[in-house]
Subunit: 301 residues, 2 copies
């Protein structure tokens, strides 16, 4: 089996994981969560989002979180930035890596950010330019890169086009995202295979949700194509609280277990991720969707 | 991506799924469950087990279940058989396919069936012979084929040896089983790859548990090797009730979703499996571990 020797995990729990929770988590608790994550060996943590507080009240404390991020030489903290104003706020509090976001499906982009894909690219182009001029690196999300909840299957050529536009703008990595968690390894093989005809593998990150239980299978399809960056969320945080059964992001614990077992280095200690997740499970008063979290929690009960 | 066009699912919910539940399910309810499964398009259902009722009281109604199995020309019902006495009971009630079981790890075999592997093979040899003489076909389980809870990693050569011994005895298929659900796709690639050097792919079935969330990823590794028979359990039944977080067998709903999405034919209707699982969820008074079950259930709530 042809597999990379090493993988970078981008922990998105503090941002993607918490942004859908009905009750905002108190800032000190978020910081304790991030501190535990930072101590696990993770090198990349998406800490918060500078979208308008009214859009995502759960992350309204972005400035405070960013100001008080645990100092560590080994972790790069990033934050989502929706526009020039968001970038200014992020820069003021010392954020050195940002993420911009669009999608490969027109209907989703309109519903999610009330713009066409073209308008979103036009909005982000100057933001990316300013960021890079300020010495800040940029990642670009391509949401609904496989399946759109409104349009169904998303054409690979569209994903490729949007990804290339973002890279042309200056982002150093595109996060190809299965926003509703519906993709199969065949979708990954086909779409990422298409991307690799134009983009080198280290510029591609894969961002899976585990709604249908396919996330780890999709990771393996990515590994087999030579992809070495994967997003995940501690405990599998990120489920929509209004759909009781819906599962969230791929869980970091589950990803680390898989990679450990396959002999692929991540530098991340599974038990420390579990401890971080437990903090959030307690705060949210519910069990988390991660299989590994449930197994370890079960063993303690 | 090199994938088979068609896959056979062996539904093991009524046996492997229910044998660990603390409360035995009333026989009429089991039969209603099996009836719904049989109506889903499944061709193979493991309906019960003729082990001693004291060993597995949950399946003490094996004779009654077998006598009242829904008549259908398209489904083959099988049953687990531990010895000659079990075979006689199974034959009396018209079972036409049986399964025998051993393991690839010595410690597990001793704990599970109080025999050495060699003794278990010696016990099963005459049972398999009698069955075949009576026109009954036989499948053989090889438990702990990847990881043993007592010994850790199980050598591939050992799995191959046990599988070949069973095939030599006359079983027409070996079910290579990840009993504790700890295997990764690399384990599947390595161990099943080794088996395929001596055994043709249609004689190999893969039986995964989803304790660590790797089951679907393992299925894909099997598909890539040309394996076309996979075991699963409706709803993901089969978790150990004494370990609250432990997940059960690979869920049939999750398997069907994956295969449908990859364009691989199964003949099984996902919604009918979901309906069957809902019967059991209600009887057990708990949510089932299947991601797909949780998603569909969430949409109804």
């Amino acid at each position: 089996m042809n597999l990379p020797g090493e993988v970078t995990i981008v922990e998105v729990g503090p941002r993607d994981g918490l942004q859908n929770e009905p009750a905002p988590i108190p800032t000190p608790l978020k910081l304790a969560f991030i501190e535990k994550l930072a101590a696990s060996g993770l090198r990349q943590i998406e800490a918060t989002s500078f979208v308008h507080p009214k859009a995502i009240p759960q992350l309204a404390d972005a400035v405070e979180v960013a100001r008080r991020l645990p100092a560590t030489g080994s972790v790069t903290y990033s934050a989502l930035v929706p526009n020039q104003r968001g970038l200014e706020r992020a820069l003021e509090v010392g954020i050195r890596r940002i993420a911009v976001f669009t999608a490969a499906s027109e209907s989703f982009t309109r519903k999610n950010i009330q713009m066409t894909i073209e308008e979103s690219l036009a909005t982000f182009a100057p933001v990316v330019r300013s960021a890079i001029e300020g010495g800040v690196s940029v990642r670009g999300y391509v949401s609904t890169a496989f399946v759109c909840p409104y349009e169904g299957d998303v054409p690979r050529a569209r994903v490729r086009e949007v990804a290339l536009r973002l890279l042309d703008m200056g982002v150093d990595q595109v996060a190809i995202s299965d926003t509703i968690g519906a993709a199969s390894p065949k979708d990954v093989h086909d779409t990422v295979g298409e991307l690799l005809s134009a983009i080198s593998s280290e510029k591609i990150a894969l961002h899976f949700h585990d709604t249908y239980g396919t996330a780890l299978a999709n990771v393996v399809a990515g590994l087999q194509l030579g992809i070495t960056t994967f997003d995940s969320s501690a405990g599998g945080l990120g489920g929509c609280p209004y759909a009781p059964g819906a599962s969230g992001n791929l869980a970091t614990e589950d990803l680390v277990y898989l990679l450990d077992r396959m002999g692929i280095q991540t530098g991340v200690e599974l038990h420390r991720i579990f401890e971080a997740s437990c903090l959030m499970a307690e705060a949210l008063g519910r069990r988390l969707p991660s299989r590994q979290w449930q197994r370890l929690k079960g063993a303690l009960e």
